[in-house]
């Protein structure tokens, strides 16, 4: 059983401020409770399939010129730097 505190702790780590308890904590709680159905799937011994992509299938790591200055598409920048709030 997931606790409210666990949900709120994760929200904090995800940098999400939870203000409306009913909208977030209660509904997330209901969703996670539903996921408990996975416990009865009987897949403990199942191996997780992975998709492998050969390195030869990757595109070449080469510079492709772009005709616009992407940084100018940001709201906050100075010169070639992104402007960010102060780290405490």
């Amino acid at each position: 059983m997931v606790t409210e505190e666990e949900i709120q702790k994760v929200a904090k780590l995800m940098k999400i401020e939870v203000t409306d308890h009913k909208e977030y904590v209660d509904k997330v709680h209901a969703m996670i409770d539903y996921f408990d159905i996975l416990d009865s799937a009987g897949v403990e011994d199942e191996e997780i399939a992975t998709q492998e992509i050969s390195i030869s299938n990757l595109r070449n790591d080469e510079y492709i010129p772009f005709d616009e200055k992407l940084i100018e598409k940001l709201n906050h920048y100075k010169g070639t730097y992104v402007r960010a709030p102060k780290m405490s």
Binding site: M14, A30, L38, S40, A41, E46, I48, N75, K86, S88
Partner: protein, 481 residues
Amino acid sequence: MNLKISALEYVQQVQNGTISAEDFVSTTLDRIKSVDDKLHAFLSVNDDAVNQAKEIDKKIKSGDKVGACFGMPISIKDNMCIKNSTTTCASKMLENFVAPYDATVISKLKQQDAIFIGKANMDEFAMGLTTEFSAYGPSKNPWNTEYIPGGSSGGSAVSVSAFECIASLGSDTGGSVRNPASFCGNVGYKPTYGLISRFGLISYANSIEQIGPLTRTVKDTAFLLNLITGLDPNDNTTVDNHNEDYLGEIEAGIEGKKIGIIKEMIAEGTDPAVMSATKDAISKLESLGATCEEVSLDMVKYSVAAYYTITATEAGSNLARYDNLRYGYDFPVEGYEFNSYIEKARKKFGPEVTRRMILGGFVPSAGQAGKYFLKALKVKSKLTKEIDEAFKKFDLLIAPTVPILPFKIGEKIDDPVSLFLVDINTVTANLTGKPAISVPYAVSNGLPIGIQLLANSMNDKMLLQAAYALEQTVKLPEVPL
């Protein structure tokens, strides 16, 4: 001007001079003006569309080479980038985001002289199945505007169904093309994973999502697939389809094909009208020479939980980039400490996105991953084995696209688990990478019902042939709009 034509009819009529691209596009824009206040299929409309159509008409008149779309007006779900156009993902977070490049599907359609008539409404960041989670308000079902049109590509489905365009591109992560296609009476296609490039599609759950067409006919879907599929160096999950011609031999029929009826997808809880339509579709397929028998995919029972666990995890990672520094809206950085700034910026996410981000942080976290995320991946693996085993015996699988009829706007919005379960028949194709199509099949109480067919990976052509055969057995009434 008759807007109620298919893509292939449009191409034929423009080619033979019966209609001009300009007239058709202009009339389409008039149609949008007259009905979209009521339906809200579009988040933005291309004001330059008529000029673009005029250019195509000029090329036709002067005998220049013209692309296969001949100025066909197509709507695009607002999570695909069109260079220099606003791409919001129906989120306030990307309210002013102007895409700096074209998605691969957009480049390919531009080369074929398609006209992007507008960007279609959707659930915010494609998280939802009703479009009620669009930050700009829900789309309405043209068959009955009190009802949801499905989602997350709801605007796409509405725009095709209400004759506001000829075809649309949506994206399907757990049924987001097939579900609204079923609810609005369109054909909706989720291709084999990797068949269509995702480059330029704003990511939600990369490992399972695909772009797919919504059209009026199965042939139109095949026509569009011929234009947008294939390898893309910008998306190394794409697969080589060797320029397969999906339209050629589409009338091949299904005689001798073996079709498995997925037992878990016609289980308790299926609406009687949906069940009746499914049984009728099975009878029709049998009368066309197919043999149908039940098949069990035991993992379907756990597929919705696995799907939401996996997608929330990927969404939690994909949406971490929205910190209002690299992408975002106009909110100054001065006077804020870093963490509190990000928290405040993320308040622009709507409630469903916020919930799924919290989930996406929780289910793969230390101490929880074994119980949720890893188990979900194991269910995905086992489900894939089960469906691969089924395809050793059957050519195709069949089930209703959605087990229930469209419901009223607001009816399920406060019950997330009840909403989850609407996806029960569609997520299997995404989790296993298989192609699936929803074919409009019946109307009950004035609302459409779609039938879903699935095929093995890379058997998209055979799937379209079967869908075409099924489509030919029915004629639905016209949208009462």
